[in-house]
């Protein structure tokens, strides 16, 4: 549950640069996550790690390779002060939880954190403090609990509501 800390306005060109966006293969996508911006990320990230970012995480392009590369690399949750709307949708649609936390600044690189989705709390085990999460609308939680939009639609026999 190690934290990888990022700044404000991390755009999708930094997550999966256009020039590397040439595949739909998850294992290959995992290798290109932050390939130029933070080359050690793809090498060292471990299953279950989290991203903690500032405001406007994922601004820019609609490329779904961005959240998919992070998920494929092992990222379990993205915590940010705020999200750009397309990445926010894309992450939920592929079943990658996004957590809005106004106090995300209090979490630092390398901290160990756990999330209690039911209570809406982030436990920072390193700093021994709890941070509140801004709750998501029930409809979005339903999509996330289904494992993404496609499973949600399957479960509801293609009825979108």
């Amino acid at each position: 549950m190690r934290v990888w800390k990022f700044s404000d306005d991390i755009n999708t060109d930094l997550i999966t640069p256009g020039r590397y966006n040439l595949t739909t293969d998850k294992a290959q996508l995992a290798k290109i996550a932050f390939i130029e911006y933070r080359p050690e990320f793809a090498r060292e990230v471990e299953e279950g790690d989290m991203i903690v970012a500032g405001k406007n995480f994922g601004c820019g392009s609609s490329r779904e390779t961005a959240p998919l590369a992070l998920k494929s690399a092992g990222i379990k949750t993205i915590i940010a002060k705020s999200f750009a709307r397309i990445l926010f949708r894309n992450a939920i649609n592929i079943g990658l939880p996004v957590v809005i936390c106004k106090e995300a600044d209090r979490i630092e690189e390398g901290d160990q954190v756990e999330i209690d989705f039911e209570k809406g709390l982030i436990h920072n085990l390193t700093k021994k403090e709890d941070l509140k999460v801004t709750p998501l609308p029930a409809f979005l939680i339903e999509i996330l609990e289904s494992g993404g939009l496609i499973n949600y639609l399957k479960r509801r026999s293609l009825r979108i509501r």
Binding site: G18, Y37, R63, L149
Partner: protein, 411 residues
Amino acid sequence: MGMTITEKLLARASGKKKVSPDDIIFANVDVAMSHDTTTPLAIKPFHEITKKVFDKRKVVIVFDHVVPPANIQSTHLQKKIRKFVKEQEIENLCMEGVCHQILAERFVSPGDIVIGADSHTCTAGALGVFATGVGSTDIAAIYATGKIWLRVPESLKFNITGNLPKGVFAKDVILHIVGEMGADGATYKAIEFSGNVVRGFSVSSRLTLSNMVIEMGAKNGIIEADEKTMKFTNRRGEISKSDKDAEYENIKEFNISNLEPQVSCPHNVDNVKNINEVEGKEIQQAFIGTCTNGRIEDLAIVVNILKGKRIARNVRLIVSPASNKVYLEALRLGYIQMLMQSGAIITNPGCGPCLGRHQGVLASEEVCISSSNRNFKGRMGSPEAEIYLASPATVAASAMEGKITDPSRYL
């Protein structure tokens, strides 16, 4: 309480009398689009839930990002899409320019709900439609069901008033607004542009405004349709207007009478400066094109600056017309010949070098001035390159001088 245009279109598309900000609605989609980069990731999820697209006439697939394909991987992805198009009998597979220009020219009618798997789908809002960008899984679900879930956005009204100074264009206006608002200043919101400047703008200039609302996080950027719009769309669709008592979260005034040419500086779009702060910066590449500024009006401005002269020796000037229609018109008017005589390289219609995959990839420490909409680190090539965004006039004047130049003296 009345409704804004955005609320009216969303209410109609979801079969409701009234919608309000924060409602979650399920809207019928009139035009659904994806391209060579976003379609591949939509095919597998689509097949997981259904066999046939909801309406093969309402689906538009465009090859524009890397067309013709520049390497084996790109060709392979396009081959996969062609198989999908054939199997689904999708009627519209286009390779004649940037997807947003193609949608505006051929597929969008005022009043429509337009959803595209590309962030700049907001461009079509200039035609009085609700248009927004999504990702591949969303578009797969739309291809299957014809519907999308949307949260009704709060509306912001931007009144743009005053008299456009010489050397200042729609691109300068929107760069100025993005700089004022910041990269997340309008996140999740609907922006409605109004005011005498917007009404006076051509459809082409309005498309430039709506194109860049995503650069401040907005969901859509809408402009009430009028006679100019109806003429542009060959009288397709119908005009919707916001009610007098519609509710806006905020109304902002932008008087542009004293605006200077604007330049967005590396490495974020909202890092906008007056041209006098960056004039003199040496450039190696100048690029005219894209869904932001690759239309005939833009090429006319460029030709007006370049004709009969040669660009600076150390600059490569790349011009990518936004569509075949634009290209043919530019040929007819003699623009292409004049551009080539000035030293420009003309590419086929498409996204060109905007996303750094072909047709003018930047080396480290190179500087590019571009009429496109994004200057993120590494966007057009090496992460050690620098991208400045400006109007076609500023790009053309800069290509002449070999350094960032105020276009006023050329006009």
